[in-house]
């Protein structure tokens, strides 16, 4: 990402970022790993579309989204979002919004495995409520 490579433009005063980790405990109990399923081709296209819409809405200079797939051991990072803009309010709003979209609108399916087996994790009512605060 250019934000980290030194090619950042002099107008860029604000870099907000977020890293989401696989926690070792979920509301369902201990977690050993997550498994992130995706739809090759479609997932990339949809995430790009969401990212583009977020970048336009918040006048970003740059937006990076990295999302892991496959098996993710507990404690590992899962997702990184970084938004570069002139001012901090836009960078913060874009990072929050991109994360909210990823939780409900990005084609990933997440299976959590603990000592007592595994279960699919789907968005919560809180996730949908946060997402509905943004218009697309």
């Amino acid at each position: 990402m250019r934000a980290f490579s030194g090619e950042r433009d002099g107008e860029a005063g604000a870099l907000a970022s977020f890293v989401g980790y696989c926690r070792t405990e979920s509301p369902n109990g201990p977690v050993n790993q997550l498994e992130l399923d995706h739809y090759p081709g479609f997932t990339e296209k949809e995430v790009s579309r969401l990212a583009h819409s977020v970048a336009m809405r918040h006048n970003l200079l740059d937006l990076l989204v990295i999302h892991r797939i496959g098996v993710i051991p507990a404690n590992d990072p899962v997702v990184l979002v970084a938004a570069l803009s002139s001012h901090r309010a836009e960078a913060f709003a874009a990072t929050v919004e991109m994360m909210d979209y990823l939780k409900t609108d990005a084609p990933f399916w997440k299976r959590e495995t603990g000592p007592d087996g595994s279960r699919w994790i789907e968005p919560t009512a809180a996730d949908y409520a946060r997402r509905s605060e943004h218009s697309k």
């Binding site: 739809y39 409900t104 990005a106 399916w109």
Partner: protein, 84 residues
């Protein structure tokens, strides 16, 4: 030949992530497809019948049950999306 993809909990029900099928010419809509799959595999049919399972034809989400899937080379069954 149409490739049918199953994600999330529909993959568990299908027992695999994808299958190649010869879909009969009479199957035109999303609703037809769900019914046809249920007639061949009632358990899988029940799993994909849930209202929150969306269908995409050639990587475009079908907006309703009447949407045509005729001629699609790839059809996906997708439970609620959740990344992050």
């Amino acid at each position: 030949m149409t490739r049918i993809l199953f994600f999330g909990r529909t993959r568990d029900a299908a027992g695999c992530g994808e299958m190649d099928c010869e879909i009969p010419a009479a199957i035109e809509s999303v609703a037809d497809l769900r019914a046809w799959i249920a007639s061949r595999d009632p358990e899988l049919g029940a799993a994909i019948a849930a209202k929150d399972i969306r269908v995409a034809a050639d990587q475009c989400i079908c907006l309703n049950e009447g949407a045509s899937i005729r001629g699609a080379s790839e059809i996906a069954f997708m439970p609620p999306l959740s990344g992050g």
